[in-house]
C-alpha cells in the first residue's frame, strides 16, 4: 500500500518539471491555420460586387439546415440574396456549405469566438455576414465562367461572340 502512495506522489510530482500546455486564453489568442473552420462570412468579387448568387446550394448541403437564402434578381439579370441568414446556434462548422458554393462566396474563417448569452444573437443576417473583401479565394468571379451573361456584359473568356442566325456559312 505504501508503495502505491509513493508511486502516485512520484508520478504527480514529476509533472512539475514538464513544459506547461495551458493557453492563456483569452489574454493570449491562439494562432489558427487559415483553413480552420469557424465563423462564416460572405465574400465579394474582385470588383467588389456581392459574390453570392443565392443558388441555395449551401443551404441544401447544410446537414443541420441552418442556412436560409432568398433569391432576388437585379436589373441586369444578376441573382443575389435578398436575405441570407445563418443560425449559429445550430451550425456545426462542418464546412459543407463552403464546399458546395460555386461562387466561393461563403467561407469559414478561423474566428471561433461566437459565444453569446442570448440565442437570438446567434442568428446572423446578410449584414452580419458580408465582408468587404475576397476572403480566401482571390481573383475568382463566377460570372466570368457562368455562361449566362449579365445585361451589357461582353462575351467572356471561353464564350464565342453571339451567334449570327442569319449567316449561311457552314
Amino acid at each position: 500500500m505504501i508503495r502505491g502512495i509513493i508511486q502516485s506522489l512520484w508520478e504527480v510530482g514529476s509533472k512539475l518539471w514538464e513544459p506547461k500546455y495551458t493557453a492563456n486564453y483569452p489574454e493570449v489568442k491562439p494562432e489558427l491555420p487559415a483553413r480552420y473552420r469557424a465563423r462564416i462570412i460572405l465574400s465579394r468579387d474582385p470588383d467588389g460586387a456581392e459574390r453570392c448568387v443565392a443558388c441555395n446550394l449551401c443551404a441544401v448541403a447544410c446537414p443541420v439546415d441552418c442556412i436560409d437564402v432568398v433569391k432576388a434578381e437585379a436589373e441586369d439579370g444578376r441573382w443575389y440574396p435578398e436575405t441570407f441568414r445563418i443560425n449559429f446556434a445550430r451550425c456545426i462548422f462542418c464546412g459543407y456549405c463552403e464546399e458546395a458554393c460555386p461562387t466561393a462566396a461563403i467561407q469559414l474563417i478561423p474566428d471561433f469566438e461566437l459565444a453569446d448569452y442570448a440565442r437570438s444573437s446567434l442568428i446572423y443576417d446578410k449584414d452580419d455576414l458580408l465582408i468587404a473583401g475576397e476572403g480566401k479565394v482571390p481573383g475568382y468571379r463566377y460570372w466570368d465562367v457562368a455562361g449566362k451573361a449579365l445585361a451589357g456584359q461582353a462575351p467572356r473568356e471561353g464564350q464565342s461572340a453571339a451567334v449570327d442566325l442569319k449567316g449561311l456559312a457552314p
Partner: protein, 853 residues
C-alpha cells in the same frame, strides 16, 4: 409466339404492349432509359441520341436508339453494357460542350432533366478546350424566361408548341450546331398553352417567369396536390409554397383530364392568391374590425333568417355549409336563372348519355362542337380537340404501316388529312384552322343546327350541311359531341344530347361555366339571382364568393364571404375573408361529373368558408374536419356521397409529406432548445403533413401525390414513371370519383326564364387568359389578358352612334367599342364575365355612348 410479347432487358424478362417503341417498353417495365427528345405525349424524333441501348441479335451486339426502334417479341437488349453506357456518357459530354456552367443561377436547377442525366452518367469535368457557343436571348413576355445557351436541341419545344398546341410564333432557326429556338423577333408568345414549355423543355431554356420572381428551389417548396379553379375542366395542379407564399404551379398528371399539359390560365392564374387584391381583414361597412366583432355582427344580421347565394366556383363543402345554414328553400346560385337552369340541364344530359372525358375527346375520330369557344371557355379541352383533328392523319399513317409514335413520320404519311371535326359557332374560332368544317351560325341558330344533325341521323329530312355532318359522325368509330354554357344560349346542351342519343357510339362533353358549376347543380338550388331577388323579401343575403354588384341583389343587406376584395365586400354590412381554392381542402365537380379534392397549398391562409359558415350557424363542432362535412353531405344528399371518396380521409396514415426530403433552412430561425417554435403547422383536413415527415413519391396514393419522386429523377420529365403505361392512367388509378351516373336521381331543376325576343343578341367574348376578375388580379395573367371590349358589327355600331375606340356603357360597365365585321349583325360581343350578368338580349337603348373629352 406467345400472346403477350416479351423482351429481355439486362437479362430480365418483361412484357410490353404490342406496337410501342423500345424506349416506351422499357419505361413501362420500370426501367428508365436516359432520354431527352422522347416525350410521353410528343412521341419520338431521334434528335438527342441519348437513348442508345445495346441490342443483341444472333449473338452479336449493336447500338440502337431505343426511341426509334420498335419493340419486337423476343428482343434482347442491354442497358448496363459498357459500350452503350460509354456511348450515352459521350452524348452527354458533347451536349455539355456548349452548355453553360450556370445551374447555380438557373431556375430549373434541382428539377432539371439535363442535370439528372448528366449526374447519372458521371460527367463532371470538361475536356473540350474551345469557346462555348453564345446565343442572344429574347424577351418572350410576362410568362416565360428565355436562356438559349442552355438548349440541347431536343426539339421538344417546337414539337409541343407548333405540332401539339398549334402555335405559330415559336420556331427553330439557324443551322448545324447553331440551331436556335425562339421567335422571329422578341415578343410575347401568343399561344395560351405557352407555359407548358417550362415543363416540356428538359433544360432551363424556358422557365416560369412568375416563379423566378418569387423563387425557391424545387426541393425547398412544399408541394400540394390541387385542382384548377379556372374553368370546368378541373385540371390537376401541383401548387408549391415556401415561407407562406405560393410560388409556382405545375402540371399534375391526370390520365383522363389534363395529361401532361395545362393552359396558361391554370398555370399562372392561382398566383392571384398572393396579390393585394385579396380581402385581407374582416370589414363592417368597409371599416376594418376584428374577426370576432365581424362574426358577432354577421350573426346579428342573419339572426332573422337570410337567403344564401352559393358560388359555382366555391367548393362543395362551402356551398353545402351555406345550404345547411339557410335551408334548401333559400339556397340560390350566384348566377342568372338561365345559367342555373342550364347547369341543371347539363347534369340531366350527362346522366343519360355516355360522358366524354378530355382523354375521350383526344382519342375521338370525329367531333361536333355546338357553340363553344373552347380555347377561351375551357382551354385544355381545345388542346385535346386539336389532337382529335389529327385522327384522320393517324389513321392513314397506320394504314401505311407507320408506327404511331414516330410523330414526324405520321405527319408526313398522314398527308395533312383532317378528321371530321365540325365547329358551329357565331364567331371565328381559334380552332378554325384545324377543323375540317367551320360553320358560322347566329347564336340562336346553333342549337337548331344541332337538332338538324340529330334529325338527319334519325333519317329525317335536314339541310345539306347538317346531313353531311351527320354522315361523318355516323361513319366515325368514336365521335364526340361538345356543347356547354360558353355561348350562353339555351338549347345547345339539349341539341348536343339529341345528337348523341341518335349516335350509338358517341360520347357527350358539356362544359358549364365554372369549376364547380355541376357540384352546385347536383346539390340543387332554388334558382338563380333573379329568383333569389324575388324570394328575398326584406331578408339579408349571405353571399358566398359572389360579387353582387350589378345584380338584382345589389341593394340587399349583405354578409359577404370572399377571398377577393370586390365592390360587394366594400359595401357589405359584414365582409369576412375566407380561404381561396388554394388555401383550404375542398371538393369540386368538373365538367364530366368527377368529384376531385384540392388540398390547402398554404398553411396560414384565412379559414375555409365552411368553417366560417359553421361558426356563424353552429353547424359543426369547432374541431370538425372536411370528412365530417362530407359525411353529413352524403347523408343529406346521397347523389353527392361519392365526394367523400374523391381522396382518402384526413386521418389516413401515413400522411403524405408535402416537403421533399431535402427541404432546407428549417432551423435557420429557431432558437435551439426551444422546440415548439420549430413545430410545423398541422393540416386538419388533408392527410398531408406540412413537413418532410410522411410518405413520399410512389408510396403516396394518386389523390394526395404531388408528382413522382424517384431517386435521381426530379424533373417533370419523370412523370411517365407514375403512369400505368405511358399516357395512360396513373398507377393506382386516376384520382377523383364520377358522381354523375346513368339513371341517377336528379335535383329539382330551376325554371328557365323566358328570353326577351327583342334587342341585340349578347355573345360572350372569352379570353383564355382572363375568365374571372381574379385572373386580372395576379401579375402574370393581368399582363397577358386582353383588354375588355364591346364588339359590334360596324353597321350596328354606326346605328348606335358609336365608332371604333369610342367608350360605351352597358350594365354599368364602361367599355371601348371595337367594330368587327366578323360579328353577325344584330349581335353584341361582351366580355364573358359581364355577359353572364346581362339578359340574353339587350335593348340597344341600354348601350349608351359616352362623351370622351
Amino acid at each position: 409466339m406467345s400472346d403477350t410479347p416479351k423482351l429481355r432487358i439486362d437479362g430480365r424478362e418483361v412484357t410490353f404492349r404490342p406496337g410501342v417503341d423500345l424506349l416506351t417498353a422499357c419505361i413501362e417495365a420500370g426501367v428508365m432509359v436516359p432520354h431527352f427528345c422522347w416525350h410521353g405525349a410528343l412521341g419520338s424524333v431521334g434528335a438527342c441520341r441519348l437513348c442508345a441501348v445495346t441490342v443483341t441479335e444472333n449473338g452479336r451486339d449493336r447500338i440502337e436508339m431505343s426511341c426509334m426502334t420498335p419493340a419486337t417479341d423476343g428482343m434482347e437488349i442491354k442497358l448496363r453494357d459498357p459500350e452503350s453506357e460509354d456511348f450515352r456518357a459521350r452524348v452527354i459530354e458533347w451536349l455539355m460542350v456548349n452548355h453553360p456552367h450556370d445551374c447555380a443561377v438557373c431556375e430549373a436547377g434541382g428539377a432539371c432533366h439535363l442535370q439528372d442525366m448528366t449526374v447519372a452518367t458521371g460527367h463532371h469535368a470538361r475536356r473540350a478546350r474551345f469557346p462555348k457557343r453564345t446565343h442572344r436571348n429574347q424577351d418572350l413576355g410576362p410568362l416565360l424566361t428565355h436562356e438559349m445557351n442552355r438548349c440541347i436541341a431536343c426539339y421538344r419545344c417546337t414539337r409541343f408548341y407548333r405540332g401539339y398546341a398549334g402555335g405559330r410564333d415559336l420556331d427553330v432557326f439557324g443551322a448545324h450546331d447553331n440551331v436556335y429556338f425562339g421567335r422571329a423577333e422578341d415578343g410575347v408568345l401568343e399561344s395560351p398553352f405557352a407555359g407548358n414549355l417550362a415543363e416540356v423543355c428538359p433544360t432551363g431554356v424556358f422557365n416560369d417567369k412568375g416563379w423566378s420572381k418569387g423563387y425557391a428551389r424545387p426541393w425547398d417548396m412544399m408541394h400540394s396536390p390541387s385542382v384548377c379553379n379556372g374553368c370546368s375542366v378541373g385540371c390537376n395542379l401541383t401548387i408549391s409554397e415556401r415561407h407562406g407564399r405560393i410560388r409556382r404551379v405545375e402540371n399534375r398528371y391526370h390520365g383522363a383530364i389534363n395529361g401532361f399539359f395545362l393552359c396558361d390560365r391554370g398555370r399562372f392564374g392561382p398566383l392571384w392568391v398572393e396579390s393585394d387584391a385579396r380581402l385581407a381583414t374582416p370589414l363592417i361597412r368597409g371599416a376594418e374590425v376584428t374577426p370576432n366583432a365581424a362574426l358577432a355582427a354577421a350573426r346579428e344580421v342573419i339572426a332573422q333568417g337570410a337567403i344564401g347565394i352559393a358560388s359555382p366556383r366555391a367548393s362543395l363543402e362551402a356551398n353545402y355549409a351555406l345550404r345547411r345554414l339557410v335551408g334548401a328553400e333559400r339556397f340560390f346560385a350566384g348566377v342568372p336563372d338561365a345559367e342555373a337552369a342550364q347547369d341543371a340541364a347539363i347534369v340531366a344530359a350527362l346522366a343519360s348519355h355516355p360522358i366524354a372525358s378530355l382523354k375521350d375527346i383526344e382519342t375521338a375520330d370525329a367531333a361536333l362542337v355546338l357553340g363553344e369557344d373552347l380555347t377561351g371557355h375551357a382551354p385544355r379541352a381545345a388542346l385535346a380537340l386539336r389532337q382529335t383533328t389529327r385522327a384522320a392523319e393517324r389513321a392513314l399513317a397506320a394504314e401505311k404501316g407507320v408506327p404511331h409514335w414516330l410523330d414526324n413520320a405520321v405527319r408526313v404519311a398522314g398527308e395533312g388529312r383532317r378528321a371530321a371535326v365540325t365547329l358551329v359557332t357565331p364567331l371565328a374560332d381559334a380552332l378554325d384552322g384545324v377543323a375540317a368544317r367551320a360553320l358560322r351560325r347566329d347564336a340562336d341558330a346553333v342549337a337548331a343546327f344541332g337538332r338538324a344533325v340529330a334529325a338527319a341521323l334519325r333519317g329525317e329530312a335536314a339541310q345539306d350541311d347538317a346531313r353531311a355532318v351527320a354522315a361523318e359522325l355516323a361513319a366515325a368509330e368514336a365521335p364526340v359531341v361538345i356543347a356547354g354554357a360558353g355561348l350562353g344560349v339555351a338549347g345547345t346542351v339539349e341539341a348536343a344530347a339529341e345528337v348523341v342519343a341518335a349516335l350509338p357510339k358517341a360520347r357527350l362533353a358539356l362544359f358549364p361555366a365554372e369549376a364547380n358549376s355541376l357540384g352546385l347543380a347536383l346539390m340543387g338550388v332554388a334558382g338563380g339571382l333573379e329568383a333569389a331577388a324575388q324570394a328575398r323579401g326584406a331578408r339579408p343575403v349571405i353571399a358566398l364568393e359572389t360579387d353582387l354588384e350589378g345584380t338584382p341583389l345589389a341593394a340587399a343587406q349583405v354578409v359577404a364571404l370572399e377571398a377577393l376584395a370586390t365592390a360587394t365586400t366594400a359595401g357589405a354590412q359584414v365582409a369576412l375573408p375566407v380561404a381561396s381554392f388554394a388555401e383550404a381542402a375542398g371538393t369540386f365537380v368538373n365538367h364530366e361529373g368527377r368529384a376531385q379534392r384540392a388540398f390547402a397549398a398554404r398553411p396560414d391562409g384565412p379559414p375555409a368558408a365552411w368553417r366560417v359558415l359553421s361558426a356563424l350557424g353552429g353547424l359543426w363542432d369547432a374541431d370538425a374536419r372536411v370528412d365530417d362535412v362530407l359525411a353529413r353531405l352524403a347523408e343529406d344528399l346521397p347523389v353527392l356521397a361519392g365526394a367523400a371518396e374523391a381522396a382518402p380521409g384526413s386521418g389516413t396514415k401515413p400522411c403524405a409529406a408535402r416537403a421533399p426530403r431535402r427541404y432546407s433552412g428549417r432551423t435557420a430561425d429557431d432558437l435551439a432548445g426551444r422546440v415548439p417554435e420549430g413545430m410545423p403547422p398541422v393540416d386538419p383536413d388533408g392527410g398531408l403533413s406540412w413537413s418532410m415527415e410522411g410518405a413520399q413519391g410512389a408510396a403516396v396514393d394518386p389523390a394526395r401525390s404531388s408528382g413522382p419522386a424517384e431517386d435521381g429523377l426530379h424533373s417533370p420529365s419523370a412523370a411517365c414513371l407514375a403512369q400505368a403505361y405511358v399516357g395512360g392512367p396513373l398507377k393506382g388509378g386516376d384520382p377523383g370519383v364520377r358522381v354523375i351516373r346513368p339513371g341517377m336521381e336528379l335535383a329539382r331543376t330551376p325554371d328557365a326564364p323566358a328570353h326577351p325576343a327583342e334587342g341585340l343578341r349578347v355573345i360572350p367574348l372569352h379570353d383564355p387568359f382572363a375568365a374571372h376578375p381574379s385572373d386580372r388580379a395576379g401579375a402574370p395573367l393581368a399582363e397577358r389578358a386582353g383588354r375588355p371590349v364591346m364588339r359590334l358589327h360596324p353597321e350596328d355600331a354606326a346605328a348606335l352612334g358609336l365608332s371604333e375606340g369610342a367608350l360605351a356603357t352597358v350594365a354599368g360597365a364602361r367599355l371601348p367599342v371595337v367594330c368587327d365585321a366578323g360579328l353577325p349583325r344584330g349581335h353584341v360581343g361582351l366580355p364573358a364575365a359581364l355577359s353572364r350578368r346581362v339578359p340574353a338580349r339587350i335593348d340597344a337603348a341600354h348601350i349608351t355612348p359616352e362623351d370622351v373629352q
